[in-house]
């Protein structure tokens, strides 16, 4: 396979995932501002930060700015509109590497947000969020049921799990304050909605109740998002997927690269870590360091396969 093909598939995976994750963040923002007493300005700012959109401290960061940056901004690589276009663009460049079901899914209404204004976007925001999630879901479903499990599949999978790990880590970084044990007041007012919206943003509300009985505890929320090995948006889960995929590629190609070493080490680190250790060393530090590792691993993968 051409290195460029691998690159396009990798970024296809990342952009589909990013469109999906960004729509959840928008949902989180919209929900947080509905709670009485919430300072909406800060809520939207944290949503933008979690999406990795950098904004100067002085700038206005309310609902219009967030919707512009995360839904409508063309060519930014952060908005749902541009993620969908970039995903499709990468897919189109590798049209022959995709199954027709996957291509259909990418093509479906891909220009929905083109030229949409803020008012239209704001009025039907829940619909737009649903659409983006269904769009990403349809692509993943088509990929799951129609694509050969070869190296092409591997590169899309690498992209989506690297992106997902980064998203979850950024979410933790933005919200680490409400997860610290010293604020461990079970069932507190403002924190309760912070926690539920955090879980909603990672589609983990139900999962949380299945896994951890009783009231919300920030410790458990952090555990779910960082270390749980069954929850598909957790950092540990993503690293394990990345590592398995890289091992498959190494076997198929008969070649090992530095990214394999790093990925194995990260998988091991997440396997053996406990929330106790993490809180002892500092949640914020742990999250920052791991986020850095994800980006370094992404660079190594690109280097190894020449894209």
């Amino acid at each position: 396979m051409l290195s460029r093909t691998a690159g396009n598939l990798y970024w296809l995976g990342r952009y589909v995932e990013r469109a999906d994750a960004t729509s959840r963040l928008l949902g989180m923002g919209a929900r947080m501002t509905l709670v009485p007493g919430a300072s909406s300005r800060d809520d939207w700012r944290s949503v933008l930060e979690a999406a990795g959109v950098e904004r100067p401290d002085s700038s206005e960061s309310g609902r219009p700015e967030a919707l512009q940056a995360l839904l409508l901004e063309p060519e930014s690589g952060s908005s749902i509109l541009s993620c969908m276009q970039l995903a499709r663009f990468n897919g189109r460049a590798e049209r022959t590497a995709l199954t027709s079901a996957m291509w259909d899914a990418l093509n479906d209404n891909w220009r929905r947000f083109d030229g949409m204004d803020y008012r239209t976007a704001s009025r039907a925001l829940p619909d737009h969020i649903d659409f983006a999630q269904r769009w990403a879901g349809a692509f993943r479903g088509a990929m799951d049921t129609t694509m050969l499990r070869n190296d092409r599949y591997g590169f899309i999978r690498l992209g989506s799990h690297i992106e997902r790990a980064a998203m979850t880590l950024r979410l933790l970084k933005v919200k680490y304050l409400v997860l610290l044990p010293e604020r461990d007041v079970i069932g507190g007012g403002r924190d309760l909605y912070q926690w539920t919206s955090l879980l909603l943003a990672s589609s983990g509300l139900r999962a949380y109740h299945h896994l951890y009985k009783g009231d919300f505890a920030p410790w458990n929320i952090a555990d779910l998002l960082a270390l749980n090995r069954t929850f598909p948006r957790s950092v540990a889960f993503c690293f394990h997927e990345v590592n398995t995929t890289l091992k498959d590629l190494a076997q198929a190609y008969g070649q090992n690269h530095p990214c394999h070493e790093m990925s194995a080490a990260l998988d091991h680190k997440l396997c053996t870590a406990t929330m106790g250790d993490i809180f002892t060393d500092g949640l914020f530090e742990w999250v920052s360091e791991t986020l850095y590792d994800v980006l370094a691993l992404s660079d190594l993968i690109q280097e190894a396969y020449g894209f």
């Binding site: 290195s3 460029r4 460049a93 022959t96 190609y253």
Partner: protein
Amino acid sequence: MTYDEMGPPGAVRPPYELVAQWIEDMGMSLLDLRAKEAEALFRRVGITFAVYGEGGDPERLIPFDLVPRVFGRSEWDRLDRGIRQRASALNAFLYDVYHRREFLRAGHMPEELVLQNPAFLPQMIGFDPPARVYSHVVGIDLVRMGGDDFAVLEDNCRTPSGVSYMLENREIMMRMFPDLFAKGGIRPVDTYAEDLRRTLEDVAPPACREQPSLAVLTPGPYNSAYYEHSFLADQIGAELVEARDLFVRDGQVWRRTTRGPRVVDVIYRRIDDDFLDPLAFRPDSLLGIPGLMHAYLSGGVTICSAPGAGIADDKAIYTYVPEMIRFYLGEEPILPNVQTYRLSEKDDYAYVIEHLDELVVKEVDGSGGYGMLIGPKSTQEERDAYRKRIEADPAGFIAQPTLDLSTTPTLCGGSIGPRHVDFRPYCLVGKRIRLTPGGLTRVALREGSLVVNSSQGGGVKDTWVLTEDSLC
């Protein structure tokens, strides 16, 4: 009087009997409905051509007309011989201009027309490409004015596009109307991909010792013909590459893959000469593969079509093709040229300037239907402005009479009416010549319009070549 290929009601010409019957059986409302279905099918498979910078949908569909264009067996036999003849002569001419230039020395053509032509590449002088072929895919644009009255409007020796429409139009027709094809009277076109692969393998470079590895070189997804590039790569089992995927080492061309570098033997390039190799052509260009020309000239790789093949399809050279056929093949041309005035010549110039309102004037290096003057449809101001352009550079223009192109029945706005068409067959030249029975019929969808270019509102049709003169 315009020649209609189907003929008047009650006197339908034999090749069109099946089509006439089919239209009658279907009825207008059903045909209309199925036309919409066809469009949805095309969009779903992603057959679009890109037009950037004009606003609107950046990926447009070329309108597809359901009513096929038909050639009977004996009509096609003659076209077949004429097309092969022309493709041979053009390749013989290319070999000659890069070697002994017998044609020029015999005084059949002014030397400067070749030597001062930007499409002429001095780097190619004295080089023998594999099988002595320069233009591996020759697209010959044909028009028809009467029953046996065909003429060649233009040759395309570099990288003629549109062949994917020939293949996809047929796919869609066979899928939607299997009954029409069930009797086996319509010759298949899907042999094209196989023939293209064989043609490219025929011309593997001397350095290639095993099964040649093929690549289709595309400018990338922004190119208007990108769909076709990926489609063809897929069909012939070649890798679809961009220049940045390739590099030259040890006299061979390699592509970067996830398993490391792999050799490429034959490159079917769909980019212009200028962008092949920055070392050889455009030092300012970031595009291209540095060292490619060197690898090519030393036998490490074959480039199809050969760099410099464009010298044969220049509009000023075109007028000499009938003479080439006589000179190289010792035969009379089966398909004549359209009468063409060379504005570089005094008498022709004087005539054209006097008769601008009757003629079509084209730039010798123009394409795509842009930059031409259609005399009868132009205003006085347009003609005056164009005259100034001609006066500034007479040799940059040729003129042809306004041709009364044949029409075929076409579905337009809920009824069927005659629309003008042209025709481009794709002739493959390797160790032998291969010609698919069919080609691309382009149709001017606007009533009375003669411009069939897809960029200017043209559409396409499936083209049938019958195994007999009539199927009824």
